[in-house]
Symmetry: C2
Subunit: 203 residues, 2 copies
Amino acid sequence: MALSQPTHDSKAKFLDAALHVIRTKGYAATTIDDICESAGLTKGSFFHHFKGKQDLALAAAAHFSAKTDGAFANAAYRDLPNPINRLLGYVDLRQQLLRREIPEFTCLLGTMVQETYDSNPSIRKACDKGLSGHAALLEQDIADAMRRRKIDADWDAKSLALHIQAVIQGAFILAKSKNGSDVAFECLEHLKRYLKLLFNHAK
Amino acid sequence: MALSQPTHDSKAKFLDAALHVIRTKGYAATTIDDICESAGLTKGSFFHHFKGKQDLALAAAAHFSAKTDGAFANAAYRDLPNPINRLLGYVDLRQQLLRREIPEFTCLLGTMVQETYDSNPSIRKACDKGLSGHAALLEQDIADAMRRRKIDADWDAKSLALHIQAVIQGAFILAKSKNGSDVAFECLEHLKRYLKLLFNHAK
């Protein structure tokens, strides 16, 4: 066990470096040298863990999803009894995260799929898996909220969960274009307003 | 005049090629060779018109905005008397455009700023100019709709115009991740639902 620890640590360092570097400069512009420099590790170590940049990207997508999904699953708002408040709590936490630097709050998956959807089907599928999986975490709360409000709608829980993700992804793009997160915060205010109107929820 | 025509045509061909190639594979992965091949023109001709890839990107951003803003300004829904219907008409047209191929309906500006916001401030600013300028085209209709409904809100026309752009940008990312536009169509249905709820607009 003690012997395997350094290997494990270095793999985690490469994955965290991938999250930071790719979210800073995009997938295509990121080189293996950039990743090694950011991780503070050698190219020999990199190729011990990964076959190449695509292999790293696929592992980084899974690492990013596990980290993000875990953070939201364990957040305090999950204990709120009203499913509508849990949905609003999810968006509130997204807004809190906007206080960080842009590469720390934006989405690895949205960033990578934006460039690679056509040229790299493996990365596209990994991004879709992570994005769809994260959206699915909201579906139960949405379904519960719909039942609570006896909503018989021409939309379903899945489509609203994906819409919430779309607003977040688009808010990140506007934050990047304005080099600041105020605009993203306001977009998420509109998203909360939509959820409150949809579920006839008191302010 | 006749002599300048070919020059003009070739510049337009490079710009249209940039729109297609960058929206297909992203900015960093696009080479000047890709652009020349897509335009069916030589590298000599390219460097007659542009100093390099960044210069092309800046001109392509302006070209994209002029084309897109012009198409929406001249669309039939602009003649609708009710400003709320004009806003819904804008989103309807966005939904109609989703029938095209992904590189034809997605946004050059959102694609480029996603990767370059940190590494290339000139491109970031050009993308912000185009995205903010396009959003501003919706502000008058939103302000008119707010007056019509006597809405005294804790949000303003500008923030809603930017939110609309965020939903569209995020919907494009989901379309790329799923390699199809159905999910984007549904996101824009949610956007229309929000606008109707916000302005208390009959279905």
